[in-house]
């Protein structure tokens, strides 16, 4: 069964550094998403991406964050100048054709900012 993959599984960085989290969505899917989950809390929406542009973003997704689909398979989340409070699990998800379709989640990248 096709699945969403994410790399790395765990990233440790120093405060102020830039990180890029990578995702490979399911190949025939058209919608892509990033969510995050701070330890012990619920999962929160960051951004959705469709047709090579952001379709929706949350109030969390400020100028520190950016997303990109650099080629036909990868979908990336860049966090500039990381802060301690950016430490969280970041999940990538994809869905097939419409906003109503099932979203399939990747295994997550655990980001630790020291």
């Amino acid at each position: 069964e096709p699945e969403v993959t994410q790399t790395p599984s765990h990233q440790v960085t120093q405060m102020g550094q830039e990180v890029i989290l990578r995702c490979v969505p399911i190949s025939n899917h058209l919608y892509f998403y990033w969510y995050r989950q701070i330890l012990g809390q619920k999962v929160e929406f960051l951004v959705s991406f469709y047709n090579n542009e952001i379709s929706e973003k949350s109030e969390i997704f400020d100028d520190q964050f950016s997303v990109e689909r650099p080629d036909g398979s990868n979908f990336t989340l860049k966090i500039r100048s990381t802060k301690l409070e950016d430490s969280a699990m970041y999940f990538c998800a994809s869905s097939e054709g419409t906003a109503r379709d099932t979203q399939y989640f990747g295994p997550g990248t655990r980001l630790t900012v020291l």
Binding site: Q37, V43, F45, E56, R100, T102, Q103, F105, G108
Partner: protein, 111 residues
């Protein structure tokens, strides 16, 4: 924004017991998914169920969209069912597709 409330927040069962988890939401939705977060943090899709009833093995789910709630039933629970169960909803009318998650139900199944 839409509010999602899950109950109970914590549930402890003996292996073999049955349970019902509830998800209430504050507005009409066009997407509702149930997830199981395992001890490694992975979110496992259980059901896509914006309305109606579905069953998959020992798990089943029912969503009554007109009354804005969904139920997840776990029968004959096993220790491997332990983890956090999340309900997540997508809101009708938005061009985007964000899922709003509830706080989750922490399920512990003891042998």
């Amino acid at each position: 924004g839409i509010q999602v409330e899950q109950s109970p927040p914590d549930l402890i069962l003996q292996e073999g017991a049955n349970s019902t988890l509830r998800c209430n939401f504050s507005d009409s939705v066009n997407n509702l998914q149930w997830f199981h977060q395992n001890p490694w943090g992975q979110l496992i899709n259980l059901f896509y169920i914006p309305s109606g009833t579905k069953q998959n093995g020992r798990l089943s789910a029912t969503t009554v969209a007109t009354e804005r709630y969904s139920l997840l039933y776990i029968s004959s629970s096993q220790t491997t069912d332990s983890g956090v169960y999340f309900c997540a909803v997508g809101l009708v009318g938005t061009s985007g597709s964000r899922l709003t998650f509830g706080e989750g139900t922490q399920l512990t199944v003891n042998p």
